[in-house]
């Protein structure tokens, strides 16, 4: 009797667990929709840009995920760490001069080792990477795409400055999209893209967090009456508070009238996955 009662309880637990799981999946589905500017899909002007291979950082989101709770875990951590370290140092040095000198030697040794380690890491050795599921084998990574060299630039075009501006506007547009500020979005998009974006109703008050952001200029061209620039944005983004940061890679096609009547505007977004 007791046995069957126990197994009944087990079954109930299982069913309950299964129910929670199913419910979780059902609830999670709407969350999975991308909330970022453009909705995480291809929209607006699509250009024939070379699909650069995605950056080989599959392990990054996992690290980020692990690191995040540690950072928010305890606000006393740093304080206790600092106090403990001070205490240990004080204790070690309080005995006599000898212990102090020994510890100093140890510190110097550690510094030298750290220096050598970093110097080693900086040496231009061929980059090795490990694929999941290949056991301990490592393979030579393909050389990084040197697309920057392929882009033909007009004299005096400040790529760094351009990309910095592009990144800033990327972040601003995410914020404007979160807050549902249509004016701000209109300021940075072509009329066509703005109209297309306007068709989807966005809910204000969501929060998209750019965790890391890289930008690369992959094409610069002048066609008829417009200049075109394609910028590949990649990095990690959290599309709901507390959720895991996911990798993204998308190309933004920016247009600017050749007569200079406006600045660079977003004309379209192309997903790279």
């Amino acid at each position: 009797m007791g046995r069957s009662g126990k197994s009944m309880g087990d079954i109930m637990k299982w069913l309950f667990g299964l129910g929670v799981l199913t419910l979780g999946v059902v609830l999670a589905v709407p969350e999975a929709e991308a909330r970022r500017f453009g909705g995480g899909r291809s929209i607006g002007v699509q250009r024939n840009v070379q699909k650069a291979p995605p950056a080989a950082t599959p392990a990054k989101p996992a690290q980020q995920q692990q690191a995040a709770p540690a950072a928010t875990g305890s606000k006393w951590g740093p304080i206790l760490g600092g106090l403990a370290l001070g205490g240990i140092l004080a204790y070690l040095f309080s005995g006599n001069g000898l212990a102090g000198i020994l510890l100093l030697g140890l510190l110097a040794f550690a510094a030298v080792m750290a220096y050598r380690l970093i110097a080693q890491r900086r040496a231009p050795a061929p980059q090795r990477m490990q694929y999941a599921g290949l056991g301990g084998e490592t393979v030579l990574a393909p050389p990084a795409p040197s697309s920057a060299r392929e882009v033909r630039l007009p004299a005096g075009f400040d790529v760094d400055g351009f990309l910095r501006g592009a990144k800033t506007n990327f972040i601003r547009l995410q914020l404007a999209n979160d807050a549902g500020q249509l004016d701000e979005i209109r300021e940075f998009t072509t009329d066509e893209l703005f109209a297309e974006l306007g068709r989807e109703r966005r809910e204000a008050g969501q929060r998209t967090e750019v965790v890391s952001l890289e930008a690369e200029l992959i094409e610069l061209a002048t066609e008829r009456d417009s200049h075109w620039a394609s910028v590949r944005f990649s990095g990690l983004m959290r599309e709901a508070p507390g959720s895991e940061a996911v990798a993204f890679a998308e190309v933004w096609n920016l247009a600017k009238p050749a007569d200079g009547s406006s600045g660079w505007l977003v004309a379209g977004i192309q997903q790279m996955h």
């Binding site: 606000k75 740093p78 102090g100 510094a111």
Partner: protein, 244 residues
């Protein structure tokens, strides 16, 4: 005769200090972060994390990080007060400030960067909830004027956090002296290719007011309830004061 100020152990005309300090940072800018890790054995991260814990940033607050350098402290704060709040980066050195600004953008943080002299901050009175300065006060020509400016831009009830090298606990002194005058310049030569810059670092630490003197300067600048937290036996001290 012009007034003199300290540049490490040297006495130089006041008008020259900003330029000399600027030259030091221009020379070491490339290797700055690496050197910080090597010199402090990574401890500067603990010290900055401690400063963030003392600041206790809340969402929506306005913060100013003076002498932000490559922006370590400002970036940690920005993660806590944005969006809704503001974090301003400021530094007198353009190259260091660029590093801070670029690092902020790469982390998806919109934080305005202003190149300015801490003795003349381009902000209205009572604008910020918190002003921080980490390892920067030491390099300023008129520390009293800079502190007074930081107090001026604070709201009433706002707090100033100063993280700076300080006077180490007495029994530790001989070892610390050996480290800063022998090991540091050697490291500076090997890693950043510039021993003189790191000799300046060691000397400027010696010339900086100790815990008690700096606390008095904060009070002089109009801050109240000044508290001192010693870190690593006084190698570094954190001062906090409120504008009331």
């Amino acid at each position: 005769m012009s007034r003199k100020t300290d540049f490490g152990f040297e006495q130089i005309p006041e008008a020259d200090k900003a330029r000399r300090v600027g030259a030091v940072f221009d020379r070491v800018a490339e290797r700055y972060d690496l050197m910080n890790d090597l010199m402090s054995l990574g401890l500067h991260r603990v010290w900055k994390a401690f400063a963030v814990a003392i600041v206790r940033p809340r969402p929506g607050e306005r913060m100013l990080d003076v002498a932000t350098g490559s922006g370590d402290l400002a970036l940690s704060l920005a993660g806590k007060v944005l969006p809704g709040g503001e974090v301003w980066l400021s530094d007198v050195n353009g190259r260091m400030l660029q590093r801070g600004r670029d690092r902020a953008i790469d982390r998806g943080l919109l934080a305005p960067a202003v190149q300015c002299d801490a003795e003349r901050l381009p902000f209205p009175e009572g604008y910020f909830d918190c002003v921080t300065v980490a390892f920067g006060l030491r390099n300023m020509t008129h520390k009293d004027a800079a502190l007074a400016e930081m107090a001026r831009v604070l709201k009433r009830g706002g707090r100033l956090i100063v993280l700076e090298f300080s006077k180490v606990w007495k029994p530790l002194e001989p070892a610390y002296r050996l480290y800063s005058f022998k090991v540091l310049p050697w490291l500076g030569r090997r890693v950043a290719g510039d021993a003189a810059a790191y000799r300046y670092l060691a000397e400027s630490i010696r010339m900086h007011p100790d815990q008690g003197a700096l606390a008095a300067m904060l009070e002089q600048a109009g801050l109240s309830r000044v508290e001192v937290f010693n870190l690593a036996a006084g190698i570094v001290a954190l001062h906090r004061g409120y504008r009331i």
